[in-house]
Symmetry: none
Subunit: 138 residues, 4 copies
């Protein structure tokens, strides 16, 4: 069976994400969800805007539920594209289709997700990757 | 640290907004949020439509959470644009991406927001700016 | 036909409520609803707790919807009493059954409601009555 | 004016709360809200039940909004008591009236709140107090 993410690991991932956010000078919210989509850890770093609280959580929800990076859905949900409207079907939270949400894998199994919101999407992704590294996954 | 908006200042801003709405002959709802996004003051002026109650509040929520004028997001959330779908991720309230919501700043710090809904967006913005002037910010 | 509450009258009522709240040294939220139950005016006075924002609005909603002071329902909704559970049936907002919500009447017709939340219920009622006086009703 | 809670302080408080939860052998969720009621930090420690995610957040919401420990409201909202039903008027989240939510103060000013959910209320309170100590408040 795949591993669960411990709170110690989550805590380390928050720490790594915060360090990366400060390094990039990008105040950000960091969210980590467990395999069931329930909140495991969260930190609003620096003076991140209030919008980032929901966005970080929603990005992690997206990456977990769809088992793929949030940004990978951008083209597919456009008007006229294959999954137009999919982003509205996240249930308790809508899906985000720009970057910053990444699934956490143990081998091939998705065991959780991270979501980052703060600056331009490429910085969000860089911070999310730093969190995955701290979790010993990628 | 930045100042909080007093109720006396909020009251003056409602008054200034009401005067501007009457001058422009545009019945409007006026909302003011504090730094945490909680309602500080509200006035529905003239015979403003019921839709304006939520819209004014949502515009202020947008300007506060995203720290920018609500209308500045219109292009960015369009199909094919960088933040397509962002407007659905406001949490308790969706974001409005047309004009009428403006952040209230003390220097560089966002300490609240105003939201105006009534007429065409340019009139809403003019009324919102009158409210900011009354608050001694801009 | 009964009169509607103008925004000028609502503004005066907010002003009178704020003065009374300061006189009683009781930071409070003040809400005024129109005949249809939609928000007409609101002011958070002094350093009123965040809880008061919803409570003031909900008290006004109660007084308007039930056409009676919010506090008059306390005994009737108790376990074993005639209308047990009624307080959960307010629709968009629950009903409050302690003091601070009062209907605004024009003759016998309820044309709106005020709701006040801040301190002990008797102060809330005193502030609500000051708002009704300013509206020229009682 | 009062200080805001930095993310470093929040992080330390999560750490202290986690240590206390392990010491008491009580898997728990820990939530920290800022002055405006927006999520600042969260950690689910050990194998805490899913119910604790919402409860921890709601307890912090209660302590912040009502500026008092969540458990201090238990008697006041009972049938026949002064504020019967108050717990339903928390707005976006209901109020919790048992222990585990505590306001964070800077002098007399409430600048945030912690909420803990896991075990019996007295353990939740002990963990919440450990978090306040780590924040340098009490």
């Amino acid at each position: 069976m795949a591993e669960q993410i411990t709170h110690e690991a989550a805590f380390k991932a928050l720490n790594a994400g915060a360090a990366k956010a400060l390094e990039l000078d990008e105040p950000s919210s960091l969210a980590i969800l467990d395999q069931g989509g329930n909140l495991l850890a969260f930190l609003r770093v620096g003076d991140a805007a209030l919008s980032t609280v929901e966005l970080a959580h929603n990005k992690a929800h997206t990456a977990l539920s769809l088992r793929s990076p949030s940004g990978s859905w951008m083209d597919l949900v456009q008007p006229g594209a294959l999954y137009y409207g999919l982003d509205n079907h996240g249930g308790r939270r809508p899906y985000v289709v720009f970057g910053g949400g990444l699934p956490i894998r143990d081998g091939k199994t998705v065991i959780g997700a991270v979501g980052v919101s703060g600056g331009p999407a490429e910085k969000d992704v860089a911070i999310a990757e730093a969190m995955l590294s701290a979790l010993g996954t990628s």
